[in-house]
């Protein structure tokens, strides 16, 4: 049996003031690390959730984003006839959509920010069944009316129900607020696609993309094959969920790299805090260590006890950091989506996996901060240490 854990715990308790410094340092580092990853995770989740595995997104071949694509009405009609598309009594569940980026002042700062204006077809409700009106009503096709996503309604000035928005030389009445389940659509404003093209003096029969509801997720391959094999079309077809996943990569990667870099730098500081704490703990307990060695506890036992103490402090720091960051879970913020250059609202997402990563990050700091002092304690000459005051 090694040195009792009780000794480690009580020793850590006795030196609570310097240990608290290390705990705070590690907690801060873990909080920053986890919050940055939660930011990336929330951004990714928001975009990925925007897509459905049962939906396909059709764009012109070569366009990396929806806004870069152009599809004509003839192409839309060809797409509607493809196999695998879900149909109901109103026909195929297909929504040709037009996109425009417009600037609206933000409520918080009063400065302009880009918002994505999506012109949709009346079939959009069949294609995106997860979107529902939570206040007011849906826009009437052919009328200059808009419905506003719940995050956009919170973020932009003049988006209240009943108010009028001006863009493209047209006054648009806000007739409804919709909830898209925390997806990217919640940051958009929707209107009739035909009217949108007219308002912005674009050719009437031009769209950016076509979103299609498939009979099942398995129908995607046959649908895609049919479109890509059709000589009348030059399109690329993605599963909607994959499109949004790819869409999220640039920003999430940047946040993850930045977060990891910041956490790494803070981690170095926390390791030094740990080293300082454990070296001072060691210098205060030179004789205790010597006595334990004299009684017959081996160098490995001493090393284990000191390392355990460092890990204990780190674990407390890690848990404190997670405790600090947990209230962020679900907290909504916004950033520019680099694919659309529009503001995207999303919620921090502290997942169990991130919590584990944060906790093990803390233990890593504890290990690196505790190992050198523990190693030194284990190798101290016993006779000399017994003479230390």
């Amino acid at each position: 049996m090694g040195i009792p854990v009780l000794y480690t715990i009580r020793s850590a308790q006795v030196r609570w003031v310097p240990n608290l410094v290390a705990v705070v340092s590690i907690a801060g580092t873990v909080a920053v690390f986890v919050s940055m990853l939660a930011l990336a995770s929330g951004f990714r989740a928001t975009l990925v959730a925007s897509g459905s595995a049962q939906n396909a997104l059709v764009r012109r071949a070569g366009s990396t984003a929806e806004v870069e694509s152009v599809l004509t009405i003839e192409e839309v009609r060809t797409i509607q006839d493809a196999p695998g598309i879900a149909r109901d009594d109103q026909g195929p569940q297909v929504s040709p959509e037009a996109l425009v980026i417009v600037a609206r002042p933000l409520r918080q700062t009063g400065t302009d920010a880009n918002v994505q204006l999506r012109g949709v077809s009346p079939r959009v409700w069949a294609v995106r069944p997860n979107v529902r009106i939570v206040a007011g009503r849906a826009f009437t096709p052919g009328l200059p009316e808009v419905i506003v996503g719940k995050h956009a309604a919170r973020a932009y000035q003049g988006t209240e129900l009943g108010s009028t928005l001006r863009f493209g030389g047209t006054a648009w009445k806000v007739v409804g607020i919709f909830d898209a389940g925390g997806t990217a659509f919640d940051s958009e404003i929707w209107c009739d696609a035909v009217l949108l093209n007219q308002a912005f003096q674009r050719p009437a029969q031009i769209f950016q993309s076509v979103t299609v509801r498939l009979v099942s997720p398995d129908a995607f391959s046959s649908f895609k094959d049919a479109l890509t094999a059709d000589p009348r079309l030059r399109v690329q077809v993605d599963r909607e969920i994959d499109y949004y996943r790819k869409n999220s990569q640039a920003v999430t990667r940047m946040i993850e790299i930045l977060g990891t870099l910041v956490a790494f730098i803070m981690g170095i500081g926390a390791v030094f805090a740990g080293l300082n704490t454990m070296y001072s703990a060691l210098s205060a307990r030179v004789r205790e260590v010597a006595v334990l060695r004299a009684l017959g506890f081996g160098a490995l036992s001493v090393l284990g006890a000191f390392l355990l103490e460092a890990l204990l402090i780190a674990a407390i720091g890690g848990l404190a950091g997670l405790f600090l960051v947990l209230p962020l879970n679900g907290w909504t913020t916004s950033t520019i989506n680099w694919q659309t250059f529009s503001h995207l609202s999303f919620a921090f997402r502290v997942t169990p996996r991130l919590a584990f990563e944060g906790f093990f990050f803390a233990l890593g700091i504890g290990f690196l901060g505790g190992l050198p002092p523990a190693w030194r304690a284990a190798r101290w000459p016993v006779a000399r240490a017994l003479r230390e005051l």
């Binding site: 049996m1 090694g2 040195i3 009792p4 009780l6 000794y7 009580r10 020793s11 308790q13 006795v14 004789r287 205790e288 010597a290 006595v291 334990l292 060695r293 004299a294 009684l295 017959g296 506890f297 081996g298 160098a299 490995l300 000459p381 016993v382 006779a383 017994l386 003479r387």
Partner: protein, 238 residues
């Protein structure tokens, strides 16, 4: 029987023991060619001025330090040839230490301090408890088991340290100035306890002390001066 001629076959056999310290270019010979034989059940006091090498000798006999030359054989085992981990195991089994400053672990109770050496044995929890209680009873502190060192007097702390030293029933006890930090009355109590351990339980005790009164309680007194055992009193075969 205690012998200084290196011809004995005692429990503890020290042969040609040298200990040299280097401080920069200076070489300090703390022990020089020391021979010693101590039979089981002896109570030997080592006296000598500061720097004479008493504590160094004790540390070497206890396997806490390594000699520059010579051999130390305890119960047939040459401890100078043991590896560090073997030496740690040997100390746990054969040596009970009593230090001047008690050296109890402040965050553990008297019971837990005494139990520490037993954690290195294969005894069950119940057996450990039985042994700890017996050791604390023997030193008169059965009612102080749950007290922390800061809640005990100096004399009581030293008695806990003695209980810790004897709880594994080691081959011998090494006591380094055990009364050095105590008042007269507490010192007498500790010496009474050591004498009782020697007389009633046949413990082999090696005691280092400055205090003549403490040394007088040991049947055999050896004087160490400049690294050499130069004088003896008691039942010594030279």
């Amino acid at each position: 029987m205690v012998r200084l001629d290196g011809q004995g076959q005692g429990l503890i056999q020290v042969r040609g023991l040298d200990k040299v310290y280097r401080r920069g270019s200076e070489v300090i010979h703390v022990l020089q060619g020391l021979n010693l034989d101590v039979d089981a059940g002896e109570f030997v006091a080592f006296m000598g001025p500061s720097g004479s090498g008493k504590t160094t000798l004790l540390n070497l006999l206890g396997g806490l330090d390594r000699p520059s030359a010579g051999r130390i054989i305890v119960d047939g085992v040459d401890i100078t040839r043991l590896s560090n981990s073997e030496l740690a195991r040997w100390r746990a089994r054969h040596v009970g230490f009593v230090f001047q400053t008690f050296n109890l672990i402040p965050v553990l109770t008297a019971f837990q301090n005494v139990e520490l050496p037993l954690l290195l044995t294969r005894l069950s929890r119940a057996e450990r408890r039985q042994r700890v209680e017996a050791a604390l009873r023997l030193v008169g502190l059965a009612d102080r088991m749950k007290h922390y060192p800061r809640e005990l007097s100096g004399g009581q702390e030293q008695r806990v340290a003695i209980a810790r030293a004897i709880v594994t029933d080691p081959t011998f006890l090494l006591c380094d100035e055990p009364t050095g930090d105590l008042d007269r009355r507490s010192a007498e109590e500790i010496l009474d306890l050591l004498v009782a351990l020697h007389r009633e339980f046949g413990k082999t005790i090696l005691l280092v002390t400055h205090d003549m009164r403490a040394a007088e309680r040991a049947p055999v007194v050896l004087h160490l001066d400049k690294g050499v055992l130069v004088e003896a009193r008691g039942g010594v075969g030279v």
